[in-house]
Symmetry: C2
Subunit: 183 residues, 2 copies
Amino acid sequence: MPESTIQSVLTLATLGLISQRPMTGYDLRKVFTTTPMWHFSSSPGAIYPALQRLENSGLIKGIVEGQDTLRPKRVYTLTKDGRQLLEQWLEQPVTQDDVIRRRDDLVLRFTFMGNILGREKTLSYLKELLMQLKSYIPSLQEHLDTARTTESPYDAFAIEHGIEMYQVYIRWAKHVIDRLEEN
Amino acid sequence: MPESTIQSVLTLATLGLISQRPMTGYDLRKVFTTTPMWHFSSSPGAIYPALQRLENSGLIKGIVEGQDTLRPKRVYTLTKDGRQLLEQWLEQPVTQDDVIRRRDDLVLRFTFMGNILGREKTLSYLKELLMQLKSYIPSLQEHLDTARTTESPYDAFAIEHGIEMYQVYIRWAKHVIDRLEEN
DNA sequence: TGAGACATGTAATCGGTTACATGATTCC
DNA sequence: GGAATCATGTAACCGATTACATGTCTCA
């Protein structure tokens, strides 16, 4: 049972990536600079300390490859505890707070979920997500109404932006659910 | 000329809000808990230190109201330096990095911009934003193609999510431009 | 008289940013 | 021989989170 308090998105993303295949710090940096996961920091000052923390917490294990050569590298794999923590994160219920403050993390969780928890759990995750997204919109709508009556046109535009974002999010989730249910 | 290095979104948002009307720390907390700006932290441990930093940098000035009473409060207003820094932030060109890593900040900037820089500058801001948004999509499209050919369906879904988000962002920006140009 | 809103702080901890630092290997 | 890529780190700084802490005012 991992008792660590590690929960930053970067470490969770790292854990997820390492779960897909063993990786070095350099590999991670490449993912964070060359794939759409580039909204994560790829600076060595973020990644190497993160890997050290994960290893110290027993969530990953580094094996040195090419120890005899002049350019050895540290390849990390998940430990059982690491896998467990990752699953714990993925199985967390979707909260209103997630939908408001951690919109992007929810997509990240989805991405790892398919391979790790399977199709069924991914489907219920998406349905839960869908519910939370839907239940958030009315409050935005209310604020839009007040912004309109108080004549703050810029505020109103900004809130419209938010509403539209959540609406496509919902449409996307429905679409993915349909696709996954088609088999 | 403010030489401070203050640039966290929270402090910039604070500066923007105080520019609209003088505010206390408590007022800010209320905004951050009761309006769609609730994705900002409203914890006293974030706000009060931020206000102190802003005041120490000479960007805002606190005046104690009700000093004689038992519940005095500190009302902050922008200083000239504060206003200048705020304008500097708002006038910054929209970069690719903004569009990737600071999507939300861009909307925040838009919100303050109307009142502070006026309609013309807001329009050019939106057009700049539009360009950057458009120029970002092709790279996502490419990654979508590779994800599809390598049979990573979950990755592909996630990238589709991103593309759709940017597409509505673009639609929104166009819509607002049209509205503002109608006068 | 008690609940809830008003009002402001501090301290420990943690992690990300920025900048610095070093060296090997590969390929032209 | 030089550029690009491979590969890994450290240190100072800063700001956000969490938890703790305190007290007033208003209204039912």
